[in-house]
């Protein structure tokens, strides 16, 4: 793994943007993630999507949900992390490049989509970087966010009332299984025109350990290696 130095942290309540400096460029592409670890533990690393890469800098959008992200949230300028990657298949390599896409991100699921928008603006029709709480705007000042609390609806409810937006467009969804399921409950027909970026708790992050399965029409695949992005009509989110 490589050492990376924390050079910036913008934190508001449970969300934070973390920027680290690496020795050389990671050459990540939108949709890819890295595995992050601490120097002082023997725990497993955890996956985080790249929200931006420029020069020797990687930026992440992270939500504090448990012990690992809690510890990430306490990092200060100058602290060091271990990082390896990038892993996963870039969104670009999976999607139909002749279409334009609506990007729907739920919470930190927006991170790879923000990177995608930056790199391929011509492939994007509209964005829904959606967050429940409006305070998140303060750490992502340059972006147009969809704040449930402000609009009074979830993005899925909003789209349900503005179905026309979906006409002739593809979708790229990235967020919790809950978000993905609620979208396809309302728009089952969109499965054929959508890609979903899946989250599954990971071990190795590199296709070695068979720890992050998803059931697909072609059998069990690994989210880390074969994904994280899949065609929506090829995966079974209900496998139990």
């Amino acid at each position: 793994m490589e050492l990376a130095k924390v050079v910036e942290k913008k934190i508001i309540k449970d969300y934070f943007v973390l920027k680290v400096e690496t020795k050389g460029p990671f050459n990540s592409q939108p949709g890819q993630f890295v595995m992050i670890n601490f120097l002082d533990t023997f725990n497993l690393p955890k996956p985080f999507s790249v929200m931006d890469e420029k020069g020797n800098y990687l930026t992440f959008l992270i939500k504090n949900v448990g012990p690992f992200t809690e510890k990430l949230a306490t990092l200060k300028y100058g602290d060091f992390l271990l990082i390896r990657g990038p892993y996963g298949i870039p969104i670009r390599n999976k999607i139909d490049l002749t279409k334009k896409y609506i990007l729907l991100g739920g919470g930190c699921g927006s991170a790879p989509l923000i990177y995608f928008l930056k790199e391929y603006p011509l492939l994007v029709k509209e964005t829904f970087f959606s967050f429940k709480e409006s305070y998140v705007q303060s750490i992502l000042p340059d972006l147009k966010l969809f704040i449930d609390d402000n609009i009074g609806k979830t993005p899925v409810e909003f789209l349900f009332q503005n179905k026309e937006k979906l006409e002739n467009s593809g979708m790229i969804l990235c967020g919790s299984k809950g978000l993905l399921k609620s979208f396809f409950d309302v728009f089952p027909y969109m499965k054929d025109w959508s890609y979903v970026s899946l989250e599954e708790n990971m071990g190795c992050g590199t296709g070695l350990c068979k720890g992050c399965p998803v059931q697909t029409v072609e059998g069990v695949k690994m989210v880390c290696k074969d994904g994280p992005i899949f065609k929506a009509n090829e995966v079974n989110l209900e496998w139990k």
Partner: protein, 280 residues
């Protein structure tokens, strides 16, 4: 740090443990396998196994609980897609064989006899697969029969992998008396994490428990190796369980291991085994 195990030369005592390193193809993107003492395949079963539904990985302090469920594409696919690749590797390949009865074990061993695979490891101790609610090891008659027959049909060294569940001394004795040339200690012991926030399913794993790996099991692994070495000083042991640095390797060797396997360490960092080898 060359090691000789039953006539087979290992460049160094470090091998990849069965499972977390896949079948090698995934790992060559990250490390040069020819620098390893050896490489153990993920356990192969006769029929393909789809494995357990998610979650399969539960993070705990200093370790992991896994419930992979021996996902693998079955023996036929292994022969066709993996063996040719493995035979080309410039390291000693150990085939980890899992099965549900003596016939399956023997069929697979026979078919691999003529390959370049150097040793066999019978995985009788997987925490995530049951034979009618019980691991094979709990059926002493069947365990004995599998080892006895397997040892008769191959010239290659035959290792038996045990866990800490079961009577270790008794099982080690049974394995050796029935023809095992060495032992692999230890497989991941069964463990559970309770998530109090997850009210509907606090165990998270659908089976309720999985196999615990990583530094958290190191004292138990060292204990097993020490106990078995004490009784069978001449039987080679492949030790594993939480090895993540050079000092760990030396401790395992001191406790009685001849070779040292790394599983969890590969998940932490695929380059970890090579980094350790460089320091040895």
């Amino acid at each position: 740090m060359e090691v000789d195990v039953l006539g087979i030369k290992f460049k160094n005592p470090i091998i990849i443990a069965s499972g977390p390193g896949g079948n090698g193809k995934e790992l060559i993107d990250y490390i040069d396998l020819s620098q390893l003492g050896g490489f153990t395949t993920k356990t192969i079963t006769f029929k393909p196994k789809i494995g357990n539904p998610p979650p399969r990985i539960i993070n705990i302090k200093n370790g992991v609980i896994n419930s992979i469920g021996l996902e693998n594409s079955g023996f036929e696919s292994f022969l066709k897609d993996d063996v040719p690749f493995l035979e080309e590797l410039d390291t000693n390949v150990i085939a980890s064989i899992g099965g549900y009865n003596t016939e399956e074990f023997c069929y697979m061993i026979k078919s691999l006899n003529h390959t370049n695979i150097k040793m066999f490891e019978l995985n009788l101790s997987c925490p995530n697969v049951d034979k009618g609610g019980d691991t094979i090891l709990n059926d002493l008659r069947e365990t004995k029969e599998i080892i006895r027959r397997a040892s008769k049909i191959t010239q290659k060294p035959l290792f038996v992998k045990l866990g800490i569940e079961g009577n270790l001394e008794q099982l080690a004795k049974l394995a050796i008396e029935n023809g095992a040339d060495g032992l692999v200690l230890i497989n991941a012991p069964k463990g559970t994490k309770i998530n109090l926030k997850n009210e509907s399913n606090p165990e998270e794993l659908l089976r309720g428990y999985g196999g615990v790996s990583g530094p958290i099991i190191k004292p138990l692994a060292l204990g097993c190796i020490y106990r078995v070495k004490n009784i069978f000083p001449n039987v080679p042991i492949i030790g594993m369980g939480g090895v993540v640095c050079k000092a760990d390797v030396l401790e395992f060797l001191k406790a009685g291991a001849t070779l040292v396997g790394i599983g969890y360490g590969v998940m932490m960092d695929p380059e970890l085994p090579i980094n350790i080898i460089r320091e040895l």
